[in-house]
Symmetry: D2
Subunit: 141 residues, 4 copies
Amino acid sequence: MSNTMTPYKHTVQYYETDRMGITHHSNYIRWMEEARIDFFDRLGWSYKKLEDEGIISPVIAVECSYKHSTTFPDDVFITITVLEFRGVCWKLGYTMTDSAGTVVCKATSEHCFLDKDGKIVRIRKVYPGFGEVLTKMMQEE
Amino acid sequence: MSNTMTPYKHTVQYYETDRMGITHHSNYIRWMEEARIDFFDRLGWSYKKLEDEGIISPVIAVECSYKHSTTFPDDVFITITVLEFRGVCWKLGYTMTDSAGTVVCKATSEHCFLDKDGKIVRIRKVYPGFGEVLTKMMQEE
Amino acid sequence: MSNTMTPYKHTVQYYETDRMGITHHSNYIRWMEEARIDFFDRLGWSYKKLEDEGIISPVIAVECSYKHSTTFPDDVFITITVLEFRGVCWKLGYTMTDSAGTVVCKATSEHCFLDKDGKIVRIRKVYPGFGEVLTKMMQEE
Amino acid sequence: MSNTMTPYKHTVQYYETDRMGITHHSNYIRWMEEARIDFFDRLGWSYKKLEDEGIISPVIAVECSYKHSTTFPDDVFITITVLEFRGVCWKLGYTMTDSAGTVVCKATSEHCFLDKDGKIVRIRKVYPGFGEVLTKMMQEE
């Protein structure tokens, strides 16, 4: 399913570079969020809608491996896969490539859903449709 | 009164530079916020406390004139003055200097207080002590 | 000429919001840069190309007036006009609207071109074509 | 050796929060850089000096595990340890605590030194004193 999605595209901004002349490494963490939000939007589960319903989705952990530097004004293409989903938390994988197809960054992020009181929300129970989509995508990897 | 306050100090971080080799200009706007929060803290009116009481203080306008570039790991010293205060909104002035005393940036910002419903809060009425301090500081300029 | 250009579009990112629930005001300064770079690209004078030729374009001053708050995931549309150009420095105007056409921000920025030694570059002399375009756009305002 | 160093302190800025009301997770990656630069400064090997000598130190990988959220205006205390050093690359560990001593974040970063041509610099050869310090700190963990 993820394979049929076109990658999310981010154009490196001037303000994302540092004095080494390359993209500052902290920005890849932000692009992961951009791509993740776009990913959920396209699956029909927008962050905005979830937040309106009182659900937030903090990041529990990130890992990021920088393979090649990028810089302004490179285009970076981000593909997301569902690595793990066990009903409560899930783990996503990110592969970022440049215009030539070279992998510039490999990353993962872990998440769960919390309600307004900070209690963990069981996705499969509260959003069975969403749980089904995540399960299906994980199995297809 | 402002003259007796020691300037707020910000050390330029590596991640605040861009590929021109200098501090990205958007960061000065952030340092103004840092210095402003510190300024109000020292006057005894902390942002945190105001927010806890349901008051927010959005920025209405900023002006920023860049005189000399800075870069990692320069120290920048920020002095704040109260330029205007008429009971509701107020305007602050910022002078930023480097370690040698050279002015690197001159800026202003305009603000008012809003309650949770977005209605303007009359400082002199709700926080008479704070209003008094702002009035006094403005007159001393 | 600017009137025939479609506005530059920026979608507010989650990481651009702050705990007031709205876009942090410093980000508009960054969007101005995004829109400006896009503007020059479309005029045929890319920042990247200019930098490759040893020309940099630091920001001399910005002014930004915040009219209405925005937040994730709003779309913001930025239209640029050339306010001033006198052969060396130039001033741009920015009008930012939301999807409903409401003006959320009005801003200006001032710039000049410098060579690698920090000396001012006379655009009309070094890039006569670029100077001509800027002059023409200014007259049309 | 690291145990005798006082932790690096970062005060969470307003602009580092997001609309969840907490510090945006990307900022911890930036604080790691702040703490790392401070760490090397205190060891007598400043980034600035290394850069002036033509050495840069890109980040190869980061891992970050978020234990407890923080927000404006919390103080975060960062302790660094040398996890690995084998002459070329090295890996640092970061433990971030709040004022109450609660661990809010555990992280690692991997680095090597490159010269201006992008070639790996052997620290032990080029900066034997620095290599010695890193080796000693690693053994003490």
